[in-house]
């Protein structure tokens, strides 16, 4: 059962989390392939929505960009971005949003804007795009990112997309937004968030991974679930769909 990569495990773990979702706001890359896998396994009625203005896409190939023409042909609907952001996302119709990040803190806040000072950046990152509104307005958010001390930091250089802010009821006090991050799916295991403190804790590990190896990649003292779960490895059918149907070139699985 060792014939899968860490990326494949991440994708499979992400796909399984969509079992009860009806509409998912899809990002490009890992989220896109995870959503397509979910459609073919746990969530056959899952509808894919892309911030480019596409609802109910059925891409015939793996798109490189969020606005690829393959997302349009055969979709249920195509609309101005203004309509998608207002009538679907801000109206609260989207169940799940996927986000990645260059930096994440223990409360699931995300930075995709700058490393260093905003006015004198060391590294200028892309910025929000739609991430800030996805983080706020989807009913729940799944964060997908590889573990690394550079990513899992004590303090963000910039809050692009709010998670639970400083924890506790800080997010709830923002107003009527979505529930915030539900999980962080990494290449070693899955984090969830404490219902009271809103701090993330390691909830389950992938086969062969250990708490110690996870802690090495996280800048703060890690909290671990009392009963740490183990994620089932990818099933043969999951791998078959991934490798043969979704990413035959292996662009995202490696």
């Amino acid at each position: 059962m060792n014939d899968y990569t860490a990326s494949e495990m991440m994708i499979v773990a992400a796909a399984r989390m969509l079992a009860d979702a009806r509409v998912v706001f899809v990002g490009i890359g890992l989220p896109n392939i995870a959503c397509n896998l979910a459609q073919r396994t746990v969530a056959p009625r899952l509808e894919l929505i892309y911030e480019s203005g596409v609802y109910g896409a059925r891409p015939a190939r793996l798109p490189l960009s969020i606005g690829d023409p393959c997302l349009v042909s055969g979709a249920v609907g195509v609309m101005p971005i203004s309509q998608l952001l207002q009538y679907y996302l801000q109206r609260g119709l989207i169940d799940v949003g996927f986000l990645g990040a260059a930096q994440i803190d223990r409360y699931g806040n995300l930075n995709t804007t700058v490393i260093g000072d905003y006015q004198q950046p060391k590294v200028r990152l892309p910025g929000s795009g739609g991430a800030c509104e996805i983080a706020l307005m989807c009913r729940r958010v799944l964060i997908i990112t590889r573990l690394s001390r550079r990513t899992f930091v004590e303090k963000l250089d910039f809050v692009t997309s709010p998670g639970f802010l400083e924890g506790g009821d800080a997010r709830a006090r923002l107003g009527r937004y979505g529930e915030g991050p539900a999980a962080v799916i990494t290449d070693m295991g899955i984090f969830r968030f404490d219902r009271i403190t809103r701090e993330m804790f390691l909830a389950s590990l992938y086969p062969g991974c250990t708490v110690e190896r996870v802690q090495e990649q996280v800048s703060w003292p890690l909290r671990v679930a009392d009963r740490l779960g183990t994620v089932a490895p990818p099933a043969e059918e999951e791998l078959r769909i991934l490798r043969q149907e979704l990413d035959p070139a292996g662009r995202l699985r490696m």
Partner: protein, 304 residues
Amino acid sequence: MSKLTTMREAIAALVHDGDCVAIEGFTHLICFAAGHEIIRQRKRDLVLCRLTPDLIYDQMVAAGCARKLIFSYLGNPGVGSLHAVRRAVERGIPAPLELEEYTHFGMVARYIAGAAGLPFYPLHTFAGSDLPRVNPLIRRVENPYGSGAVYVVPPLHPDVAIIHVQRADQEGNAQIWGLLGVQVEAAFAAQHVIVVAEEIVDEAVIRADPNRTVIPALIVDAVVHEPFGAHPSYVQGYYDRDTEAYIAWDAISREPETLQQWLDEWVYGLSGRAEYVEKLGGQVWQRLKPGDAWSGRVNYGRYC
């Protein structure tokens, strides 16, 4: 998953006494079949919203279904008054009718705010008019980028919006061409949506032209296949507006008695739209049949 059902079942399941109901459509695609079914099921105390209450709300008011209108133009377009509504407003017959009044733009803005999940929507109308004086929901907010204030209206969230369309699949993905009115905004603003379609088509027809989709199955609770369901309003490319019926309504509705006779004959006396279509007769449908004017096709391209 098919949401196909009958008009009777859709109205029984989704329209309740006291609900706020929007049967939208600007001249085009007004779902008279749904209004008549609401009358037949003797729904009461409805708050009816529409830019232009039109004949359908005149009939529903006369039948005693409504306690309030939220609207912007109270007339029989091109003909004259809505006599049943005027009787209710001016003389309380059959019962008083509360009015909550905007301009067209004000109503549109209320639907946009509802559809967009906003607590208010800014617009430049109302200035200098007496409407804000008689409608306390029309308010102002300061412009944080300069001097002066801007008018705003609050969101409108109908309990149910009824949207007539040319075609939909059985899940409720729906396409319209011709006048689009405020249907998209009303549908997204509402808690529940009934789509009524002239034709039920395969999902592949929808997916072949995604830019024409105006309402996604996501927000649709029920789909009713009801050909000719918009008469005497019209469906672009399917049948013409029956201006004779709009003109005739002026005489029918001037007296409560003739109006009630009309309701008895054309609403209470019929089981549903199919009987109405048959009763109206082939000559009328022949008169209302337009010639053909086909759009071209466009190529979306296959990308694989």
